[in-house]
């Protein structure tokens, strides 16, 4: 039995310890905001935060998340950086189909928490693992810059 801390709440999971966190979130707990896109940590749709780091949950066994703080898209807005990112996403109408955007927002939020004033190269590097098949990259970049500016103004 594995104990997990997800979005500030404790969960006791009866599944095997090598079950990927993604499927525990989606199927066991019902947090479907974290998406499945590839299962091989290639596309970033499954990105969550574990102790503040952007992590691909499709290849993270729940055993590796024990004793750590897991945050998903459903709770990323609980701090100012997350809220600034979400607000920029809405303001600039970033999404098209939206399926990749949970992962994009999680990666972007982790970036801004560690680098509040990212360069273009920082953004490319942090976001290269998140595929958007609808091609919203340009707006994602703009939204990250807007969130960075907004958060700098009112942290």
């Amino acid at each position: 039995m594995t104990k997990l801390d997800i979005n500030g709440r404790p969960f006791e999971i009866e599944l095997a310890a090598d079950t990927p966190l993604l499927w525990v979130l989606r199927d066991e707990i019902g947090l479907t905001g974290t998406k499945f896109g590839c299962g091989m940590a290639l596309c970033g749709a499954c990105t969550v935060h574990i102790d503040g780091q952007a992590v691909r949950s499709c290849m993270t066994p729940i055993s590796a998340a024990v004793g750590k703080k897991i945050v998903t898209i459903e709770a990323v807005g609980s701090d100012a950086v997350g809220r600034a990112v979400q607000a920029a996403w809405i303001d600039l109408s970033v999404p098209q189909c939206g399926y990749c955007q949970s992962g994009q927002i999680m990666s972007a939020t982790a970036l801004l928490r560690s680098k509040p004033k990212p360069t273009d190269a920082d953004i490319d590097a942090a976001m290269a693992g998140n595929i958007c098949r609808c091609g919203t990259y340009e707006r994602i970049r703009a939204a990250i810059r807007q969130a960075a500016d907004a958060h700098a103004v009112s942290p």
Partner: protein
């Protein structure tokens, strides 16, 4: 006409709303009679056409909330914002009080729901305007009656009706009940706004309907459906078209914790259609267990007749066919004679591989069967097709199947095919109707797509002393989408050929278009902009090659080749009426000129940098793109900028038009740079995104500037979802030629530029 006031709670599509005893304008409404000519084309020609009935699309609650039904599938193209926007504008609704309700699959009720072909906005612009206006007029009539005022003294404005002379006002909520009791607005009496009065249409004022939900993870895609007691399934499918299970052993699979049942799905004889491919399904208590169970299956396959499909060998087959005269599909003048007499003869051949849709959400559907009634939730582009085919396959009445349309995590044409819904239905049936969610993995999606076709495009021109073509031959060879529906179909369909091959827009006297046969060895389907991709790539690349041979600027050459503005009616035109949608080469010229101007065409560029241009008409819109490319010493490509100009008549949501063109640009560059599904031993060789690589942020253009030609609402609207894609591939390769002198004729570009 009977006036029926319906209680909302009986209306399935408005269930559970914050709907305070409001009344639906439920009115019997006769279909408009159309002129015979109108019946054959466009929206009138689509199955179930369009519905001229405000009650179907609009409901107003006593709390003032305006519910607007969206009957087309949302896959990122913006219909859940744009279509309700049309209704809301004519209705004079306050957008902040608008709630969008997704329609289930029911074309008899809503009109055509097949979300495909860049049709949603252009087919439903006028019908939805009429719905909004008719509802507005009933609200105004109700207010006028309440105030005993002349109708001319009242007008609706932003969710209220106002009495002009006194300033009295009543909210839509206060009027809803009375409005439902008013006589129906007669179809002839519907007063549409003058476009100058639009408040939402044509503006960038509104935020996306689902942006908040998407940003907080509060969305339901096909993948996300959850029902009590739901089981999860993955299917081991034949890896080769026509493959069958000869033997399987589920014993190890059944021992995997969480696995509940293993079920064989029978394939269907004949062409693929939208039928499941068959295979062995593992049903389990969660997705991971189902996947682990599938790994433990032991299956012996008979790969069947296509087991030797090999992309390298097949390319040679296509090339041989492309180099031999074939069936003629267009023949003007005398190509052979004119080419023989020409000053110079230029030949080029272009190869484009299969592509996979690879939408970020792989296909997924959930089905539950309760007392013979089947409920379906899924990411369907055509919920009606899903409903019909599930009913048929289960052997139950159509009326007993309900299809709920979730958000689609991308579609691009893949999710028009409801094979994944039928799989879920069969598996639910196999577990006594318990809800079953079928999940396609990325490997499933890449191996068993309805692939974009593979093609060789052979072009020959005889040019005069000035380098202008006097004779033009285009021989296009590609397995046809028709093969998915008809066994042994080997010729491109009229509509595939009409996507840029037959309707080449140049007034050359001697034109010959041929289409030799090509057999299909995998499922072929429509992929965003369909055969426009290979045809535009070949034609617009070839034009640039002719320009280079003539020593002329490519943009000037392209415009000279198009010639003076004229109407070029060249056969099939997206099933639209030639009277309504004449193909006007002047509009093509203007977008080419606009894109060129905006890109700074003609200014000198540093070494290794270049601009390429292409212009293409598709889905009744005109698009031109200029791609700026920089190629460094190691052959690495960067794309600093793309300028795209579009003439789509007029826009509803210009912000989404820009988004779709930016997105099409990324998808086009992705395909050109690295997109390829290759086959060996009958099967697709790419398993996941490490092998089927798609564009990521670092390679995406830094800046994509979209230039929308001014709105003219007297024009019928053009399509938006697809037209941005075809010009991108040739514009990119033309830019690479300008930058490096190297001509790309085989896609993907891959390592062709590497030193």
């Amino acid at each position: 006409m009977a006036l029926v006031v319906a209680n909302v709670s009986r209306r399935g599509f408005l269930q559970g709303a914050a709907y305070v005893g409001g009344l639906v304008l439920a009115i019997g409404y006769p279909r408009l009679t159309q002129a015979d000519e109108a019946r054959k084309f466009g929206a009138d020609a689509m199955p179930h056409g369009w519905i001229d009935n405000p009650s179907v699309f609009v409901a107003i609650g006593e709390d003032g909330v305006v519910s607007i039904v969206c009957h087309r599938s949302e896959m990122g193209q913006g219909v859940r914002t744009g279509l309700p926007m049309i209704v809301a504008d004519e209705l004079e609704a306050d957008w902040t009080r608008v709630r969008v309700v997704q329609a289930p699959g029911d074309e008899e009720r809503y009109g055509n729901q097949d979300t495909d072909g860049s049709r949603s906005t252009r087919h439903f612009f006028t019908p939805l305007r009429r719905c909004g206006a008719a509802a507005r007029q009933m609200l105004e009539a109700a207010a006028a009656a309440r105030w005993a005022a002349p109708i001319a003294d009242v007008h609706a404005q932003n969710g209220e009706v106002i009495h002009g002379p006194t300033g009295r006002r009543l909210g839509f909520g206060e009027l809803a009940k009375a409005a439902a009791a008013m006589p129906v607005t007669s179809p002839d009496a519907i007063r549409l706004k003058n476009p100058s009065q639009f408040r939402y249409i044509g503006t960038d004022k509104l935020k996306l309907t689902d942006a908040q939900a998407i940003a907080t993870g509060d969305t339901q895609y096909g993948m996300d459906t959850r029902l009590p007691g739901m089981l999860f399934a993955v299917v081991a499918r034949p890896q080769v078209l026509g493959g069958k299970v000869t033997r399987y052993d589920a014993s190890a699979a059944m021992k995997v914790p969480g696995v509940v049942k293993v079920v064989q799905i029978e394939p269907t004889a004949g062409p693929p259609n939208f039928n499941p491919l068959g295979g062995i399904a593992v049903v389990a208590r969660n997705t991971w267990a189902a996947m682990q169970g599938r790994k433990a299956l032991k299956i012996t396959w008979d790969d069947g007749p296509h087991k030797s499909y090999d992309s390298a060998a097949y390319r040679a087959v296509l090339e041989a066919a492309a180099r031999t005269p074939g069936p003629v599909v267009r023949d003007n003048g005398d190509f052979a004679g004119a080419a023989a007499g020409a000053a110079k003869r230029i030949t080029a051949e272009y190869y484009l591989p299969h592509l996979a849709h690879a939408s970020m959400e792989p296909p997924a559907a959930t089905v539950r069967i309760t007392q013979g009634k089947c409920e379906v939730w899924g990411c369907f582009q055509s919920p009606q097709a899903a409903r019909e085919l599930i009913a048929k396959r289960l052997g139950i009445p159509f009326e007993d199947v309900t299809v709920h349309v979730t958000l689609l995590g991308g579609g691009f044409g893949r999710k028009s095919k409801p094979d994944f819904g039928i799989e879920a239905a069969l598996l639910s049936q196999a577990v006594d109707g318990k809800p079953v969610k079928v999940v396609w993995t990325r490997e499933d999606d890449l191996h068993n797509d309805y692939f974009h076709t593979v093609s060789v495009e052979h072009l020959e021109a005889g040019v005069d002393a000035q380098g202008m073509p006097v004779a033009w031959l285009h021989r296009t060879v590609a397995p046809t989408i028709a093969s998915t529906f008809a066994e042994g179909a080997r010729r491109e369909a009229e509509w595939e050929l009409g996507m840029g091959a037959i309707n080449v827009p140049f007034p050359i006297a001697n034109v010959r278009i041929e289409n030799p046969e090509a057999a299909a060895h995998t499922r072929i389907g429509w992929f965003r902009s369909v055969s426009n991709i290979p045809h535009a790539f070949a034609v617009q690349s070839f034009v640039a090659e002719l320009a280079a041979a003539a020593g002329r600027d490519p943009k000037d050459y392209l415009l000279a080749l198009i010639g003076p503005a004229r109407i070029a009616d060249l056969g099939w035109n997206y099933n639209e009426s030639p009277a309504r949608y004449p193909v006007d080469t002047g509009r093509l010229r203007r977008v080419i000129e606009r894109a060129a101007k905006e890109s700074g065409w003609g200014r000198s560029r540093p070494p290794g940098s270049g601009l390429g241009i292409a212009g293409h008409y598709s889905f009744v819109s005109y698009v031109a793109a200029v791609v700026e490319v920089a190629v460094d010493g190691r052959g690495e490509i960067t794309i600093p900028r793309v300028d795209i100009a579009i003439d789509c008549g007029a826009t509803v949501n210009p912000e989404r038009v820009r988004a779709q063109l930016q997105g099409s640009c990324v998808m086009g560059i992705s395909a050109a740079l690295s997109g390829a599904i290759t086959f060996k031993d009958g099967r697709a060789q790419q398993d996941n995104f490490h092998q089927y690589t798609v564009l990521r942020m670092p390679q995406a253009p830094r800046e994509t500037r979209v230039h929308i030609l001014p709105d003219d609402y007297s024009q019928p609207l053009g399509g938006i979802g697809e037209p941005g894609l075809p010009p991108i591939l040739p514009a990119l390769c033309n830019a690479i030629f300008a930058a490096t002198g190297k001509r790309i004729r085989t896609l993907p570009i891959g390592d062709q530029l590497k030193a």
